[in-house]
Amino acid sequence: MRAFLLFLPLALVSAGAYAQSPGNCMVSYPISFPMGNLHDYSSNTSFRGISFEFNKKTSPYTTAGLEVGWNVFYQHVDKKVYQEGTASITGVQYRYTNAVPIIAGVKYYKKTGSKAMRPFVGVGLGTIYVNRTTDFGLYEIVSDSWQFALRPEVGIDFKVASAQAFWLGAKYMWGFNTSNLDGQQWLSINIGFRSGL
């Protein structure tokens, strides 16, 4: 995860430069609700995360681009007895899931009468790097996986100035099963800012 943090300054510089070309940069804060297997493991809503998108305009109403994000899910499970056959083990668990989606996607902005608001829909394909770590007593159980991912989204742009807008959207990150970890899925509500066309 440190590598991702080191990547941030680079992303910051790139975003500034990218915003000058025909396209846009979008940064957003996701509030994420775990679903499926991820929810079974860690049901808490995640308020930790960030997402960056770099999009090129491909027509007056469409863009294509790349999204990179980071979502942290955490659950503290109080002292509890776990049973397996005749064995019982009691302890506190700290469950961490770090997920880094890397998604190539397209967006379609709907034509509307209003210049201030533009709804959009999008779909993306890519991968999610998932690091799941369970601290249990003095032991740590770690699994890493790269999962094929699909990401549909909907949103709406609120233009605040020329080539600048706030946006609000919902994304469904849908990771698929791998040999060592079931597909990780979550629904996020993103509040963000867009710079560029």
Partner: protein, 215 residues
């Protein structure tokens, strides 16, 4: 017109990442584990009596260096409360304590072991007192090569309890049937009273999660 962008970028970065990574254990007891297992073929309900040594042995290696001699013993500061509470829990569950010469149904053997590991990681904050232009940071960085190997920097310890089925002793070519086992594992750090309190809590938990021992 782009001046808003850096402002919002910074705002999001701070809101999303700034100092809000989830925390972990806060107290030594958060790292305690209680493990129990048993033989489902053994009829605990039909057994009535148990015996207990007066000391807890300290395991220092898989092989006893000088067979036939008395091994190292855990300090009585820890051993006596452990043995007393173990006996109390057995009695509470309907067992009767007898001397080892009075043909007990089961004998409880209690051992302890500790491990200290080596750590090659420590916080940069250690150098706050001396380093010129010090400021808080995230940690160390080794450009182009790996961190020195590091794992732990703590002393961990376990109390290991084995319940021996006395009817099998000597009957199976030297193999002793253990019908119940219990491991209390955690940090062997903190004050004596804190460690004893945690052992006490965990020993009670071992019996709570082993209801089949109850008569």
């Amino acid at each position: 017109m782009r001046p808003l962008f850096p402002f919002f970028w910074g705002l999001f970065a701070v809101a999303s990442l700034g100092g809000c990574y989830p925390s972990g254990p806060e107290y030594n007891s958060d790292l305690d584990l209680v493990y129990t297992n048993y033989s489902s073929d053994f009829g605990f309900a039909q057994k009535q009596t148990f015996a207990l040594p007066d000391s807890v042995i300290e395991i220092t290696g898989q092989v006893l260096e000088n067979p036939g001699t008395r091994p190292a013993m855990l300090s009585s500061t820890y051993a006596i409360p452990i043995l007393q509470q173990l006996a109390a829990n057995m009695t509470k569950y309907g067992w009767t304590q007898v001397d080892k010469t009075n043909h007990p149904d089961v004998i409880l053997l209690v051992s302890a072991m500790t491990t200290t590991n080596i750590y090659y990681y420590y916080d940069w904050d250690y150098w706050d007192w001396w380093y010129p232009d010090y400021y808080p940071s995230w940690g160390w960085y080794y450009p182009g090569f790996y961190y020195p190997p590091y794992v732990t920097g703590y002393k961990s310890g376990s109390v290991f309890i084995q319940m021996v089925d006395q009817s099998t002793v000597g009957a199976q070519a030297g193999n002793i049937a253990i019908v119940w086992s219990c491991i209390l594992n955690g940090l062997a750090q903190g004050g004596t009273s804190d460690i004893l309190s945690r052992i006490s809590t965990n020993l009670n938990q071992a019996f709570t999660q082993s209801p089949y021992l109850k008569h």
